[in-house]
C-alpha cells in the first residue's frame, strides 16, 4: 500500500488525540468502550484464546497511551489504534509459534458463495434461497435471537475471513484502511470479505429455514416430555415472532 493513500486525520481524530495527550480520562473511556469488543475480536483471529487476546488489547492501549505523541495524523486515530493491535497480535502469535492468518488464506476455503448443488447446469437456481424475515434481527429462532446466531456464526469463520469482516462490517473501516492495517492486497480482501459474508448469510438462512421447514402441525405443538434430552434448537418455539 502506498502511504500517501492514507487519509489525513479528520478533526475528531485530531481532537481525540490531543485529549489523550492531555490525559483526558473521559475521552479515553469512550474510545475504549467504542473499540474494545472489536479489538478483542480482531486479536482473537491471531492468538489462541480470549485471555491472550485481552492481554494483546491491554498492551495495545498501553502503547497508544504512552505513544500518543508519536501519532502522526496521517490516518485516523482509530486506524492507528487498530494498526498497533495488529502488530502486537502478530508478534504474540509468532512468539506462540502460531501460524498467522493471511499466510495461507486462499486455500482455506474454496467454495462458492452458495453451494453448487443449489443451481442447475445453466447456473439458475434449482433450490432458491429460503425466505426468512431479514428485518427482525431480534427474532428468536431455536431459543436464540438471530443476532446471537450471527455472532456465533462469526466465531466459526476461518480467522482471516473473520478479521476482514470485523474490520469492514462490524467496525466500518473502508477497504483501503482494512488492507493497510491487515497488510493484505485489495484482491485478497475482496475474496475474504465475499466468502465471509456469503457464509454468514447461508448460516442465517439455514437456521431460519430449519424452523420454517417444519410441517405446520409440528411447529405449533407445545413442548412435551418427549422433548427431554433434545437440544433446544430442535424444539419448536411458539409465537417466536412476538
Amino acid at each position: 500500500m502506498r502511504t500517501e493513500a492514507a487519509v489525513s486525520a479528520d478533526d475528531s481524530s485530531q481532537d481525540e488525540a490531543e485529549a489523550l495527550q492531555r490525559g483526558d480520562e473521559q475521552v479515553f473511556r469512550r474510545l475504549y468502550d467504542a473499540y474494545g469488543s472489536s479489538l478483542i475480536a480482531l486479536a482473537r483471529t491471531f492468538v489462541r484464546d480470549r485471555a491472550t487476546a485481552e492481554e494483546v488489547v491491554q498492551d495495545t492501549w498501553i502503547a497508544v497511551l504512552t505513544g500518543i505523541s508519536r501519532f502522526e495524523r496521517r490516518s485516523s486515530l482509530k486506524s492507528w489504534i487498530f494498526s498497533i493491535l495488529v502488530n502486537k497480535a502478530r508478534t504474540r502469535a509468532k512468539r506462540e509459534h502460531r501460524s498467522v492468518p493471511f499466510s495461507a488464506m486462499l486455500v482455506e476455503d474454496a467454495d462458492g458463495a452458495v453451494d453448487a448443488s443449489r443451481f442447475d447446469r445453466a447456473g439458475m437456481w434449482s433450490d432458491p434461497p429460503h425466505e426468512f424475515d431479514v428485518h427482525d434481527p431480534e427474532r428468536v429462532v431455536g431459543g436464540r435471537q438471530m443476532m446471537e446466531h450471527l455472532a456465533a456464526a462469526l466465531e466459526d469463520l476461518p480467522p482471516s475471513q473473520r478479521a476482514v469482516v470485523v474490520m469492514r462490517d462490524v467496525e466500518g473501516h473502508d477497504m483501503r484502511e482494512t488492507c493497510r492495517i491487515l497488510g493484505i492486497s485489495e484482491g485478497n480482501q475482496r475474496v475474504l470479505l465475499h466468502r465471509a459474508r456469503a457464509r454468514l448469510r447461508s448460516r442465517l438462512e439455514q437456521i431460519a429455514s430449519d424452523r420454517d421447514a417444519r410441517p405446520p402441525g409440528r411447529r405449533e405443538r407445545r413442548v412435551t416430555e418427549s422433548d427431554a434430552g433434545r437440544l433446544p434448537s430442535d424444539i419448536p418455539v411458539e409465537n417466536e415472532r412476538r
Partner: protein
C-alpha cells in the same frame, strides 16, 4: 446475460458499489427479472446490516480502569504529561 450463480458471486461487490457501470447494469437487469436473486441480495444486505449492529463481548471494565491509571501516569509507566 449473467446467470443466478454469477449474481451470488458478485452480489456483495454490487452492494459495496465496487462495480463499473456495465456490470452494474447487468446485475440490475437480472435482479429485475429474478425474484430468487433479489431475495438473495436482500438477505446479504440484511446480514451486513446486522453485522454493523452486532454487539460483541466487551472487555472487562477493570482492565479499562487499570489503563486509566497508566493515563494518569501512576501505573508504573512513564507519565504522559511532559
Amino acid at each position: 446475460m449473467l446467470n443466478c450463480r454469477e449474481i451470488t458471486e458478485n452480489a456483495d461487490r454490487y452492494l459495496d458499489k465496487e462495480m463499473g457501470f456495465l456490470e452494474r447494469l447487468q446485475m440490475r437487469l437480472h435482479l429485475m427479472m429474478c425474484r430468487h436473486c433479489t431475495r438473495y441480495v436482500e438477505q446479504l444486505k440484511a446480514t451486513i446490516a446486522m453485522l454493523r449492529d452486532l454487539r460483541l463481548e466487551q472487555p472487562a471494565e477493570e482492565s479499562r480502569e487499570r489503563l486509566v491509571e497508566v493515563l494518569r501516569g501512576d501505573g508504573g509507566r512513564p507519565p504522559l504529561r511532559y
